[in-house]
């Protein structure tokens, strides 16, 4: 795996060579550096987790502190044997969880209730029960992330290289190898004594590990820095793009990262369409046909005409009763009152608002004694509701025929009521 392999020249049974000893030779291209090789420590292999635990305890009791155990799976009890104190990670995780709880709740409050409140079905924009699931998730998320990265930090991960990687045998630590390594930096480290301690502790194999002492061999190669800086700068591009999009104006359509169903192969109304002979997407009525429900064959009911003249009565389909008047009032208040006002005197909110901003928008007074609306026959009034008058648009598209007649009825009721005299009041009525 590298050119400084110290292990391939020892057999399992052979003792560990002293540093710089004759047994310790180098790969072909490193002869110059050989004299500078530095002892990193000793690596001992053990057969069973039980043996590893016993050895760890023995090494700890011998006073060593700079040592570690390596195994492919967690060995229960090893931390106690090595004298490792209980981790304080749970406290950090608890803090992470609390941060997730507060953060999740704040996130929802900020977005839903403060920064952009949005009425969804009349539900309150801030309500604890509705926010519990998200808060619960963010609590778990931050707890888990804190556990994961806290564990990394506590173990000084990520560690991309370790001197023991130079020993071939150590590769088995990810499979079935159990190892104990003592650093040469430990103040009790004494190569021969330490080796004997490990053998006495039951090691099946003990091996010294050397690292290249040249300073340049211990530095991260410069090209890696170059690549990392380049990647870091490339990563800024999207952020710069986003910032630019926020700070500038553009006539281009939005980027459709998710196109949803924004672009559909269909013809929208009033759009050109070359496949039809007339080049228009709209299809008109076919000559000689009437669409279902649009026959309108009844002159009196559909147009208010009685033998060619505006009718002064009502079509037989309309019965004059409270229900018809109530319906007429309801429709009038929806469609007519915005301009003509609830009392029909022409003071609806539209002309009032136009007046307030300095414009002129007169809505006809339907109830004044001299109003043309009073003089009009019923049929003409109906026709006005249906097709409009001067600047007023027709309401045939919004209001069904029968409802338009009921609006006529209600307008007549308004005219009557607004022009009533005191002696027309029913007996017992009080004047306010």
């Amino acid at each position: 795996m590298d050119t400084h392999d110290h292990s391939h020249d020892h057999d399992d049974e052979r003792p560990v060579p002293p540093p710089g000893g004759g047994d310790h030779d180098h790969g072909d291209d490193t002869a110059a550096a050989g004299a500078d090789d530095e002892l990193h420590g000793l690596l001992a292999e053990f057969e069973t987790p039980g043996a590893l635990i016993a050895a760890a305890r023995k090494v700890k009791n011998a006073g060593y502190t700079d040592f570690d155990c390596y195994s492919p799976f967690p060995v229960h009890g090893i931390d106690d044997a090595m004298g490792i104190k209980r981790t304080r990670l749970p406290l950090v995780v608890f803090a992470g969880g609390i941060a997730g709880l507060i953060g999740g709740a704040f996130l929802q409050w900020w977005m839903n209730a403060y920064n952009w409140p949005w009425n969804i079905g009349g539900k309150p924009s801030w309500s604890i029960p509705a926010n519990v699931p998200i808060t619960y998730e963010t609590t778990i998320l931050l707890s888990v992330l804190t556990t994961f990265f806290g564990m990394w930090a506590a173990n000084k991960l990520p560690q991309v290289w370790h001197p023991f990687f130079r020993l071939d045998r150590f590769a088995r630590v990810t499979d079935d190898g159990l190892f104990l390594g003592i650093d040469a930096s430990d103040r009790r480290f004494e190569l021969e004594q330490t080796r004997q301690l490990l053998v006495a502790a039951g090691a099946t194999h003990v091996e010294a590990c050397y690292v290249d002492a040249r300073p340049e061999a211990r530095q991260v190669p410069k090209p890696i820095f170059a690549v990392m800086i380049a990647l870091g700068m490339l990563a800024l591009i999207p952020l710069v793009q986003i910032y630019k999009a926020r700070a500038t104006r553009s006539s281009q359509p939005h980027w459709h990262i998710f196109s949803d169903m924004d672009f559909q192969p269909k013809v929208k109304s009033d759009q050109p369409f070359p496949d039809f002979a007339d080049g228009r997407g709209n299809r008109g009525h076919l000559a000689g046909t009437v669409a279902r429900g649009q026959l309108a064959a009844d002159d009196l009911f559909d147009r208010g005409l009685d033998h060619g003249a505006w009718t002064t009565s009502l079509p037989p389909q309309i019965t004059v009763d409270d229900a018809a008047l109530d319906r007429g009032q309801e429709r009038y208040n929806i469609y007519c009152a915005p301009c003509h006002g609830y009392d029909g005197a022409g003071h609806g909110i539209v002309p009032e608002r136009v007046k307030r901003i300095g414009g002129v928008w007169e809505a006809r007074n339907l109830v004044a004694p001299d109003s043309v609306a009073i003089a009009m026959p019923n049929g003409q009034l109906f026709n006005t509701v249906s097709n409009g008058f001067n600047t007023m648009m027709g309401y045939a598209a919004q209001v069904p025929v029968a409802d338009r007649w009921k609006i006529v009825l209600y307008v007549r009721a308004l005219q009557r009521a607004q022009n009533a005299t005191r002696d027309e009041l029913p007996p017992g009525a009080t004047v306010r």
Binding site: D80, P90, P129, A130, V132
Partner: protein, 432 residues
């Protein structure tokens, strides 16, 4: 690699007089308290004759019943997953399930009145519901086939036949293994493991309908599919609390003092923590879906528990049954300092009773100024008051005493499954 340990040579394994003493004292005290409750119950002038008595009876009975049912699940789940840590607790759980036959008989105390036509416990037994003019006929007529008193009683017998059958089979096999050699005991352990799968399935389906029938049907127009899961969560929480307290009590008598260690209590504590959370998880799931869905036939349940005096019981449950014990049990130390763990076991049992009380009691029907207010069905929530009555207390202690008598009756022979192949690993169990 699992460590094992053999039984301590001085361990006192036999129940000896413990069971018979428990049976005698529990039986006498229970019978006395039950008689006192009947006297007090007859003197109640709340709502309808005997209504409060039967409601209190159902809550108290449900309290001890949930522990017996939960203990059965403890046994099944241990076999199912080949659990090791809790083998030393399994025999205690088996003794607890030995109370099921007595609980069956005690349950007849309200099943027989329902059969005899008492209609103020379960409102669906009201004969008037079959009349199409009854205001709730529309809600109930499709359910009345299921809620036939005789069909109901038949299901009650079936549920207990299943529970008692499972409990006797597993406890019987476990006990039979005590007298066998190693190979025979291992074969029995394997047999129990094989059958625990199907048994768990049968247990789960039984428990779903058990809680639906006996508790949810108190409010026959209301429904929640997670109700039984929530009931089960409360039952399991109570079971682990009881296991902790009961095992500790046995140890106080000088028995099994070496086998059950702080490590096992630590694991019980972990489960208390876990089930505490699962209880609130299911309780909140039920609440949030119904609150958010906002449909009258569902929200009625919470209407009575949020907008009346019951509101304070609801808050007490939220903080007492979840927030406080949850936060307290999160650390390792609460679970390892036994007096503290015992405190929380008692605390959670008290709140388990409050939980059942809160589920059951608001369904009572009240006469308000001579007018019938059907607890689960109609009326102003503000009319619903939290009432206490001496029978609540006397019946609770009567049921606990009788439950202990039932446990004592089955408490014979060894207090540990001495021949279980995994006993050694359970004895050596340690939390790392």
């Amino acid at each position: 690699m699992s460590a094992t340990k053999s039984l301590h040579p001085d361990e006192k394994l036999k129940a000896n007089k413990l069971g018979s003493r428990l049976f005698a004292i529990g039986g006498a005290a229970g019978a006395l308290l039950l008689a006192l409750s009947v006297v007090l119950g007859g003197a109640i002038d709340q709502g309808f004759a005997w209504q409060r008595f039967f409601y209190a009876y159902l809550v108290a009975w449900g309290f001890v019943c949930s522990i017996a049912v939960g203990s059965l699940f403890f046994i099944l789940s241990h076999h199912l997953v080949r659990g090791k840590w809790g083998i030393v607790l399994r025999r205690v759980a088996e003794f607890i399930t030995g109370s099921l036959p007595l609980l069956f008989l005690l349950g007849l105390g309200f099943i027989i009145p329902v059969l005899a036509g008492y209609k103020h416990l379960y409102y669906w037994s009201e004969p008037g519901l079959h009349d199409a003019s009854h205001p709730l006929y529309h809600h109930m007529h499709n359910k009345l086939g299921w809620f036939d008193p005789f069909f109901f009683a038949g299901r009650y017998v079936l549920y207990f036949a299943i529970y008692i059958g499972l409990a006797r089979w597993f406890a019987g096999k476990s006990k039979a293994a005590d007298d066998l050699d190693e190979a025979g005991a291992a074969a029995l352990a394997e047999k129990m493991r094989v059958w625990s799968g199907i048994a768990t399935l049968v247990f789960s389906i039984t428990t779903v309908f058990f809680a639906f029938d006996l508790f949810m049907s108190l409010s026959p127009t209301w429904f929640s599919t997670i109700y039984s899961v929530n009931w089960f969560a409360g039952a399991m929480l109570a079971t682990y609390c009881t296991l902790a307290l009961f095992t500790r009590a046995i140890q106080r008598s000088g028995r099994i003092t070496h086998s059950v260690t702080v490590e096992h209590y630590h694991d019980i504590g972990k489960y208390m923590f876990g089930w505490t959370f699962f209880w609130i998880y299911t309780a909140f799931s039920q609440f949030m879906l119904q609150w958010y869905g906002n449909m009258p036939e569902e929200t009625v349940f919470y209407n009575y528990r949020m907008f009346s005096q019951w509101e304070w019981v609801s808050w007490a449950l939220l903080f007492g049954h979840w927030a406080f014990p949850y936060l307290a049990l999160v650390t390792r130390w609460t679970k390892r300092i036994l007096p503290l763990l015992m405190f929380f076991a008692v605390w959670q049992l008290v709140f388990h009773y409050v939980d059942l009380f809160w589920n059951v009691m608001p369904n009572q029907q009240w006469l308000v100024e001579g007018k019938l207010v059907l607890g689960p069905l109609q009326g102003d929530p503000a009319l619903h008051k939290v009432h206490f009555h001496p029978v609540d207390v006397t019946l609770l202690f009567a049921m606990i005493a009788l439950f202990l008598a039932g446990v004592g009756r089955s408490m014979k022979g060894n207090l540990l499954p001495v021949k279980d192949p995994k006993l050694g690993e359970s004895l050596a169990f340690e939390n790392y």
